[in-house]
Symmetry: C3
């Protein structure tokens, strides 16, 4: 369904430079857009495409040379998000329980809920209005799912898991599995029952193949508005603050408590039993092994070099102690010479 | 079901300091426990809570000032595990094959086995007494599952996989998928058929979204009592020794043979074709590229620093060669001066 | 089914040294092979087994002392792949739609396709000849799957995903889930609709629990012949060139464009918005943060050391700035002394 540029501008409190009656039906990149599409500029890297784009309009922060109509807003990224949401509305789930689903009679499922084929739901589960549960999902007993949450196919929620409202959970993620807890006893590992829960706030998005373990004692808690990418591991009893954003393949070990607006790049590891304050950023592939009390950006990222050069670097690194001693000896000799 | 503290103490060969008739029905942390709950102290970090806990009893190694009853044992962690197992007994599976399951008629399934909804089991599978197979699992032909093993929903076992007794396999893990084997031939990659199996010992726990590949030739072998966290990758023909414990998101590349009691932190990578002796520990986020012949602890973990400081470190690191040359020149000059 | 050695040799354009009439029915390692099995030597590490193997024949590049018949070829690895493929032919799928599958009536499914139990296929999906879809898979609407592709159980393909011909997709992988795109707006994260697709070429193999996200705008594109190991993450709008090979637990961040024959070791991370030319190799556990214009091998792998030694290394590393200043001071003093 097409919107006029003027209507889209009103939707995001923006200003049109050009023809507000232009009809827009979809989004595209600057390079690929055609004359019924809207694009945006937020990353300077793509600025060269501005001069030659065929877009009907470009969302942008400041006036620039461009053959297209401009939609000027303070925050082009946010405006783009709102416009794309308007042009691509999420389908309402089709209410009803598929005949192949297996739902325990004790469950409380709102009449507007969509339960897809082969879903299995154990006893005493409560599911709020407007929820969609994708094909072949499993929901363990005593779990609760808040309204308007969207669960994609093949998700496993273990028993007693709480999911907030308006969450999105992608395929093959697992929430509420046992945390990794064992006690060593006479040469073997004893399993420590994991008796807490996984409790997920509102407006949380959880990527594909992401795992959030239940608490060992007490709960694992994911705050409101948290966004987790694919293949993230959240261990037992982690507390992750509101609006935190974690990129793919990162992991947080057990019992670490993290404040709001934590942002970490991909492939980053955070040790267990730490406390991390609000507004901490960690760059990709880093390792956090101590608590962080000061907001700011932290790194231990090491970028690649050509392999032959890299091998020399590592060699030098491992001879640092000897280098240091040689410097000390020079200093000593110089002192002697005074 | 509540136990008296005296009965719990007898169960773990411990000694009560205080009221052995106290009724205990569940576990909790020192901070959260109420007067029908038992807690424990194993991590010094939590010792301050000892003075103010409301727990009915605390499991502990030595006598300490504490308002609660104490249960004194040599190994509080192991005693806690045993007590939690007693207070939270695992439910016996309800025997029977769910009518929506698809089980090949050639299978041998003990009468006490629980096969949940939508499980698919191919021909000639053998499943021992007391096994529970969760909803929507897949079990390939010729696989065998030992008695009392618990498989959570949405697990995929490829054909000819062997699982031992008393194992626990968490949701969305995949056992016996093809190893990653290709031969380069005239510009394209040829698939090498993976004709071995995945063979899992007894008392093994396998986390959610963990993958254990079948052997290329011969088998991938996981020893007895091994505990694997979530999102671990075990490649083809790895042999992992008994009682090894691997934290989340670590991986072991193909054909590496590892002894008993291997312990590795999260996000650690072990290269292929290595041999690692018994009793090796590797700290989190490390990389093992050579065989290890000596027991002990190994690391290449690099903890974060503030990003601006970190960038300077990396700059210095990459100029180490020049620094080293400058030191050599100083040494030369000093020698000349003698 | 057994082949004679002569027939296998003809199959791979090789030369027999010994008895071409030897019957061979399977493959094994040099150490384990019996007299009806063929083995191979490609890794020097295993050369000692050559003298004592009981194999019926050994595939090898040059004549060597060996009690077995030899099959001499230019590329033993490739010849082994072809011979193993011949001895272990892939089973043809049994055509038909299982009665428990839920397939929308609007789909176009070739009569030779196998749809296994509990598969759910939404509207307008097109599936080519000879495809096999494993148990409990989900295929979203408007997706297309090319002929002779093999999809193992529990795979989730989101809507509008395109899969080429002769692909293999392993269990619990997820293709076409939303990319990780959010815009920050007044303290909360707005979801950016992910309106592109995931487009997978021909002859691609995708490992277990691997995730390939759909494009944000435009498509995520995986080239022909690409091989992805388990637990790999490919973010939105990545373009990955033909015949690239990526080992387990590696990830490529959004919008990065990569040429042909990219090869990366396990646990490696590639940042977003980069361009990487053809024929680049990155060793395991490395981090690529900048575009790469020159073919060749790149690394930032750091191998383990004993932990006590390692801690000293890290300490020295973090004092490099001070060491560097001390060297400068020595240089200064020496200059003064001239």
């Amino acid at each position: 369904m097409a919107w006029t540029l003027a209507k889209l501008a009103a939707h995001v409190n923006g200003r049109v430079l050009g023809d507000g009656s232009a009809q827009i039906d979809s989004v595209a990149t600057l390079a690929d857009a055609t004359d019924s599409q809207i694009s945006f500029l937020t990353n300077k890297q793509y600025k060269p495409y501005l001069a030659t784009t065929n877009a009907a309009a470009v969302i942008i922060a400041t006036e620039e040379e461009c053959p297209s109509n401009l939609l000027i807003v303070d925050n082009p990224h946010a405006a783009y998000a709102k416009i794309a949401q308007a042009l691509y509305p999420v389908e309402k789930p089709a209410p009803g329980i598929h005949p192949t689903a297996t739902v325990h009679e004790s469950c409380t499922i709102h009449e507007t809920v969509q339960i897809s084929a082969n879903v299995v739901i154990e006893e005493n589960v409560v599911i709020g209005a407007g929820v969609s549960v994708g094909a072949n999902c499993f929901i363990g007993k005593n779990s609760q799912i808040g309204q308007d949450t969207l669960i994609y196919p093949l998700v496993s929620l273990y028993h007693s898991t709480l999911i907030g409202e308006r969450c999105i959970i992608h395929s093959n993620s697992v929430i509420g599995a046992d945390g990794f807890g064992f006690a060593f006893d006479n040469g073997v590992w004893l399993k420590i029952p994991q008796v807490g829960r996984a409790v997920i706030g509102n407006d949380v998005e959880i990527g594909a193949c992401t795992t959030i373990d239940r608490g060992a004692i007490g709960d694992t808690i994911i705050g409101d508005g948290v966004k987790l990418d694919n293949q993230i591991q959240i261990a037992h009893n982690v507390q992750l603050g509101d609006q935190s954003v974690i990129a793919a393949q990162s992991g947080i070990a057990g019992s670490t408590k993290i404040g709001k607006y934590f942002m970490i790049g991909g492939h980053t590891a955070v040790s267990g039993h730490l406390e991390i304050t609000d507004n901490v950023v960690v760059t990709g592939k880093s390792t956090v092994t101590k608590s962080i009390k000061e907001p700011g950006s932290y790194s231990s990222t090491i970028p690649v070099e050509p392999s032959n050069k890299w091998r020399r670097y590592v060699g030098r690194f491992k001879r640092l102690e000897s280098l240091s001693k040689r410097v000390a000896k020079c200093e000593e000799t110089l002192k002697d010479k005074d």
